[in-house]
Symmetry: C2
DNA sequence: ATTTTTTACTTAATCGTTTAAGTAAATTTT
DNA sequence: AAAATTTACTTAAACGATTAAGTAAAAAAT
């Protein structure tokens, strides 16, 4: 802690602490001469207000929390970047919590925040978040803005991308590239975004009249490391798909590696499109066709919405929900 | 804010707030019966202490700050992951601040923290951080642990990797793979880590008797976007290098792309080794030989050191400095 | 010249904790 | 049985800010 307090300034200037406090926030009750003296001394002594004293008194912490599954992920790190940018600009501080996809962690973090540590929360739920009571309870006292992985059941602002449409677009893109047997693979089927993408995929499959039996939907179990086996199995099946929609960036590596190992040529033997924000997409071989989410913008928007609601003390902000479109960037993995 | 306070519990139980407070921290001054009553009611009403009241009183925030240049970077996001893991485990909260390589931002963030918002800081300086007075000043009041990009001039714990050795190793690796004209390219030459790596590179060049005139050291200017031109120029020079040591992961993409565009084969025409933690290294074509830093471990170690010092209230922790070795992983970009 | 208003402050309460110091009753020691 | 100690509390101050309410002096209005 810095030991320069309002009290010290008051003593030095023979004024009351109230005068100092008011002078510092430029109150009209204080004479210009006094304000100048106060400001000068404050500057000289490098006075920085104790944030917690203020927070306690005002019941406002000027702090928000970001709850995300992980940060070593292009999407989430870009989103965090956007959030931090807006927060810093508006004078807010950003606490970061990683849930590592664990519901228990999500619960205990929210619990620990509920004593007033933050003014609001921006979050993306875990794959395990199937019940929402803990979030609802928290939301009774604090504003929440969801981004990407939302809770439909909770009535608040949600910043998402057009997942359904993108599932459709991705699949359509493969179909137009000549695929007939398109597999969809996901890291989880419990997430809202994944089911949206899956629905879009199904719509395209149906609309273009593909044989659904040849279009498997594969969800990975929670334990990591099993991806390879599952993908390898899929690739060795008698009815191997000729197209893959991968709904998460984590899937790129196993798909590329298995294809390499099994000598399956992308895009000749199988075309791949991946929901991914990885900047390396353009230097993979072949370059990867992606659905790129507006991660940074989503983060910025989520923070803007939350901070605006805090500014005006308005709790309800469902109408602030925004859908920002992702972009399909066609590259070598779907174009022969 | 939650409206359940110690005062409320006290009223409900006809006890003083002091008794409640002591009961909650299991003080020996309170009878077991009373403790049980307090705990039961606290649980029933979902009491969560106001963190700021406690912080104010104890002058401890149980909060640390992480200052990093950016988060959308494999190294820093992995390090943050490690920091958050340790912090959460020890009951600390983690504020995240991105400097975006701007010295001014670093200064103003540290200033804003100096009122007692955090108990300590973990940081990696910006490329612009050539003067250290602001950090030194901050460090007079709060403990700092540096990781990766350290300030040699400041006497505190520094968690680094063996950059010098790795610069040497990387260069030696290229030489052993047959390279004679090795370029070193960096995003900046002002950082301690880069100069370490550069020194290691120089040592290898000298030790193996390469012609120094054919081994250019190239620093990129601050403005992004110029990398391509510089790399392209280097590649078109009459004396094109046959090996590249790239000291940052941001350099992979321009190098690969320029080689592709200019039809220069990696590794046949030029071999590339990159300081990088990108998980996509193994699916690039060719797969990328990397010096992989122990980012997660460095983050964990930095947090451990800081939190330990906070626990024992010990300010000086220079001896806690740790060097964790990076790993050279030879892949396709240096092996024909 | 008196009253009213404005200016420029101060006093004291408050936010929700923690904790040093005090205290009455119960228990133990002598 | 008196003195000393222990138990189980309470009172009140403190952390560093903010702010409602109070006040004396100066300025303005009547």
């Amino acid at each position: 802690m810095s030991n320069v307090t309002i009290k010290l300034l008051a003593e030095r200037l023979n004024l009351s602490t109230a005068t100092i406090s008011k002078a510092l926030c430029d109150s009209h009750e204080i004479s210009i001469a006094t304000k100048e003296r106060v400001l000068a001394l404050a500057k000289e002594l490098d006075y920085v207000p104790n944030p917690y004293a203020g927070s306690l008194r005002r019941n406002k912490s000027k702090t928000i929390a970001v709850l995300i599954p992980e940060v070593a992920d292009s999407f989430f790190s870009l989103a965090l970047n956007g959030i931090e940018e807006v927060a810093l600009e508006k004078g807010y501080h950003t606490l970061i919590y990683l849930t590592h996809e664990k519901l228990e962690r999500e619960k205990s973090i929210l619990k620990s925040l509920s004593g007033g540590r933050v003014d609001g929360v921006i979050m993306s739920v875990t794959v395990e978040t199937a019940s929402f009571e803990h979030i609802k309870e928290f939301n009774r006292h604090y504003p929440i803005v969801f981004f990407d992985r939302v809770c439909k059941e909770i009535d608040t602002a949600k910043i998402t991308t057009n997942d359904f449409e993108c599932g459709y677009m991705a699949t359509k893109h493969l179909i137009e590239a000549g695929c007939q047997k398109i597999a969809l693979i996901s890291i989880s089927n419990s997430l809202s975004i994944i089911s949206e993408r899956t629905e879009g995929y199904k719509k395209a499959i149906e609309e273009f009249g593909l044989n659904e039996d040849c279009c498997p939907i594969i969800d990975f179990p929670d334990e990591p490391g099993l991806e390879y086996g599952i993908i390898r199995k899929m690739m060795s099946s008698s009815n191997r798909p000729d197209g893959i929609v991968a709904t998460g960036e984590k899937l790129t590596t196993p798909i590329y590696l298995v294809c390499q190992q099994m000598d399956i040529n992308i895009p000749k033997d199988i075309k791949v499109i991946c929901f991914s924000n990885q900047s390396s997409a353009i230097i993979l071989n072949p370059t990867l066709t992606t659905i790129t989410q507006p991660a940074f913008e989503m983060g910025k928007k989520a923070a803007s919405v939350l901070l605006k609601s805090l500014k005006y003390n308005s709790l309800i902000l469902t109408e602030e929900s925004t859908v920002i479109s992702s972009t399909l960037i066609a590259r070598g993995s779907t174009v022969c």
